[in-house]
Symmetry: C2
Subunit: 199 residues, 2 copies
């Protein structure tokens, strides 16, 4: 009769509202909170409030930040001539982990998805176009996901950007490093052949 304990049911409901958390996982997480030390539960609640209150979009790249302009946009070490356009703030973190990209980012906060009613006006396209003013930008790398919607968004943006006299490129498609050719799907393999490079 767990459902009768209102605070527990409410907490499980809150966890269940998070993306990718099912009913059983929500119950498990709610139970975990109950068995936490009291200080830890407080720290958890405070972390939620503090994150929600202090984190907003960077005024330039739209990535999450706790100041007006994020650390990457503020950095003098980054190359302002190259801009990498990604769907999600987590993609910025993924690319940063490669230590291979030294330009700036632009976070779209989504992809164009007519089925879900998401059009260019729901993304940070206006903010992206604003970044071309000033003329420092030379190349824009489309690093949206290799999905139908990511691809469509990259094509849409490239059509907007190319007439503005900037170079637009797209992440290479190919076989993932360390993977087994046998298990690569045919589309990926075809793209890897198509994009082959001389050695």
């Amino acid at each position: 009769m767990e459902q009768q304990i209102a605070p527990l049911a409410r907490l499980a409901e809150q966890f269940g509202a998070l993306p990718g958390v099912g009913r059983k996982s929500a119950q498990r997480l709610a139970h975990a909170v109950i068995t936490m030390e009291e200080g830890k539960a407080k720290a958890f609640a405070e972390a939620i409030l503090s994150a929600r209150e202090t984190i907003r979009r960077c005024a330039l790249c739209c990535d999450w930040t706790d100041s007006d302009i994020c650390a990457i946009c503020r950095s003098a070490k980054r190359d302002p001539a190259t801009l990498c356009v990604v769907e999600d703030p987590r993609d910025v973190a993924a690319i940063e982990r490669t230590h291979e990209f030294h330009g700036l980012y632009h976070v779209l906060h989504g992809v164009i998805s007519p089925l879900n009613g998401i059009g260019p006006e729901d993304l940070t396209v206006k903010e992206l176009l604003a970044r071309l003013e000033g003329g420092a930008l030379q190349e824009i790398i489309m690093a949206t996901n290799p999905t139908v919607e990511g691809e469509a968004t990259a094509i849409y943006l490239s059509r907007l950007l190319l007439p503005l006299g900037v170079r637009v490129s797209r992440l290479a498609y190919g076989v993932p490093v360390g993977a087994d050719l046998e298990y690569a799907d045919e589309v990926t393999l075809a793209r890897a052949l198509e994009g082959r490079r001389s050695m």
Copy 2:
């Protein structure tokens, strides 16, 4: 450079400390909190605090409750002669969903696990023994998990309880309803054969 945004990193760390939440899931959940409406984030934080503060163990069965004695132990409709011993409060919820059990519960809050340094004194064994005083109890059903540790705990408890003149039973082992025999493991299948019933 996501890691540089302290409130976001702190929140991801909090999620990551929950059982079964890995680094990537923790990041995903933290990002979900940031994009919540502000009211929802507040409700989430409050649900954590409220659950942690108001929920404690029932003085009788040790299940979670927000009063001194839980709703099941208080209910006049439950049969006080039968007691079902489970590892975890979630197991109470699972058995309640069957609508087949009308007795009372006792929650151990764990199993005996020498490898993890958990002995009987870490479980609610003392509270279980206290429930035999009064003499209303006639049968105790061991509903610990069908694992090595759950089995060992059931055997340990039955040895404690049998000399006290109470009947002790164990959940039936067998093939799960709706499953395919072909995929049942041999131990389960052997137990199902052993426990076969005439039709």
